[in-house]
Amino acid sequence: MGYGTPQQTIPAPAGKAPFSRRAELFKQIKKHRYHYLFVLPMLVFFSAFTLWPMLASWYYSFFNWDGIGWPTDFIGLGNFREVAADPGFWNAFMNTFLFALTHVLIQMPLALVVAVILNNQFLAGRNIYRLLLFVPVISTTAVIGVIFSILLNPLGGAVNEMLLNTGIISEPINFLGSTALALPTLLAVSVWKSFGTPMIYWLAGLQTIPAELYEAAKIDGAGRIQSFFRITIPMLAPIGLVITLLTFINNLDPFDLVRTMTEGGPVKATDVVQTYIFRYAFEPESGSSRYGFASAAGILFSLAVLVVVIIQVLTGKYARRSGTKGAE
């Protein structure tokens, strides 16, 4: 990620007493006292609203607890074992990853193509196009989910009616009702819904490419497609890594959409980790919430995500390093 100036740690000369190193640190802290002051509100908010709930849920996950009163029934790793042994969790787990992956592999490239077209400043009406493509992002997911379940209904739904009327299909497509199609359908709707976000990211990235590069390429006789692959793509590569990461993270939580469109069905074909957790935390089939269990499921999931992201960042770093080496 492109933040921050390089760390300027002043190496303490070897052989000096630890006291002076501490003094050095103190001097540094004093020098930056306003910086600390400025970070302070953020740190307070962060500790209260991010760190504390996180730690609390870690604590809960070791208890058999229904969310009422203070947890007392300590069961160690019992919840984790139960989660790990439940095939339903891993099913939800895979689906959630598929969600994030689809957005990275399908939505991002598509958004790039559209962004390149809309980046042409001579294109008439480009702001309108941008707005229209962005509107799904700003509308409430739950409403979108409800609307799509009406539109995609095989019986009387507008999409099937249109396809039937034009003769493209002879039998209605069971978009959300078949175990084979439900997940792809949800993925498509989700790609549609959040498409504007990576598009905006790419548009921003495109602005960082100097126009002279394209002009030079034009003089060299390169066509549009050529300059796209020779200039646009390589120039966007570092930003692309950031966008990939953001897209991946943003799409790991498709709760609202899944909940309103399929509730994880048919028969759990579209279950994701968030709906899985929700079922145990808030929607007990038997009348009792299982907060500890839900927490354990959430933690197991976030740990797995963390591992994936670390791998992604490391490979990105490695690729970048070897890339620059090649350029030298």
Binding site: M1, G2, Y3, G4, T5, Q7, L25, Q28, H32, Y34, H35, F38, V39, P41, M42, F45, F46, F49, T50, W52, P53, M54, A56, S57, L123, A124, N127, L131, F134, P136, I138, S139, T140, T141, V146, I147, I150, L151, G156, A158, E161, M162, W192, A204, L206, T208, I239, V242, L246, I249, D253, Q274, I277, F278, A281, G298, F301, S302, V305, V309
Partner: protein, 278 residues
């Protein structure tokens, strides 16, 4: 004349885009059309886009049923405060972390990034306890805090990236002019970061405006403090759904965001560009 030939040359691209965005916007066209239809026409009247007997009833009903007037006002207060709070906190932190090289910076950054990967949802209970403990339950302040507190890390990182990318001389010349730390930030650095301000505004605006779970949770005993995002659920019932009312409500609630977006879109894109460049 020149414009005309340009338009002609663009024709294929324009047609392509037009077709694409039309299909893209179809669900919205459908929502708008449904909001003018009667409930029975929507279900029994086929898939025509133009309503046979256009009616404003849905809007009237949506206005009353979802307590639109009151909820709208609450939404405005909550959203505006959340945006302000987030802007202040994230820009200050972003400035300090982007320009300063103080000890502990790396630790803070690592902590922020790691916390990004925490799935939300199951942390609502501790959050709830915290707000209750602070005595803010069933106040708009509780909603605002709970909404602006967690997971604004992307915004912080945007500011960090942007401020880090500004040339060092800027501060130096300002210091020579005798500007103190606060003046430097508020009258020089912050105005420079307009693009990021725009970006963060849009992102937090969207989030706060559409929020459902948090405003519902923190106004459980005071429905008069609920926001539009919660109000929309008045159209859903387990027994029946007021589809056309929902459509009208959706149309009404999305308009303010479109306006904000239109105003800020330029800064939005510039802002992202500025911050990723760094």
């Amino acid at each position: 004349m020149y414009r005309l030939t340009r338009l002609l040359r663009q024709l294929p691209v324009q047609l392509l885009l037009l077709g694409f965005t039309l299909i893209w916007s179809y669900p919205f066209i459908w929502i708008i059309s449904s909001s003018f239809k009667s409930q029975s026409e929507m279900f029994l009247g086929g898939i025509n886009i133009i309503p046979k007997e256009p009616t404003f009833d849905n809007f009237v009903r949506a206005w009353e049923l979802a307590n639109f007037y009151q909820y709208f006002f609450n939404s405005v207060i909550v959203t505006a405060s959340v945006v302000m709070l987030v802007l202040v906190i994230t820009s200050m932190a972003g400035y300090a972390l982007g320009r300063g090289a103080m000890p502990g910076k790396k630790l803070i950054m690592t902590m922020l990034i790691i916390s990004m990967f925490l799935p939300k949802g199951f942390t609502i209970l501790p959050l709830f306890e915290l707000i209750v403990g602070l005595g803010f339950n069933n106040t708009l302040m509780g909603v605002i805090l709970a909404e602006s507190g967690p997971s604004k890390i992307v915004s912080i990182l945007l500011f960090v990236g942007y401020f880090a990318s500004l040339p060092k001389e800027m501060e130096e010349s300002a210091t020579i002019d005798g500007a103190g730390y606060f003046r430097m930030f508020f009258s020089i650095m912050l105005p420079l970061s307009k693009p990021i301000l725009g970006t963060v505004t849009i992102f937090s605006f969207i989030g706060a405006w559409n929020a459902f779970f948090v405003p519902l949770t923190f106004t459980l005993s005071k429905p008069s403090l609920r926001t539009l995002g919660v109000g929309m659920y008045n159209f859903f019932g387990t027994n029946s759904v007021d589809w056309t009312g929902l459509a009208a409500g959706a149309v009404m609630s999305v308009v303010p965001i479109i306006i904000v977006f239109l105003f800020l879109q330029r800064y939005f894109i510039e802002g992202l560009a500025g911050s990723i460049k760094g």
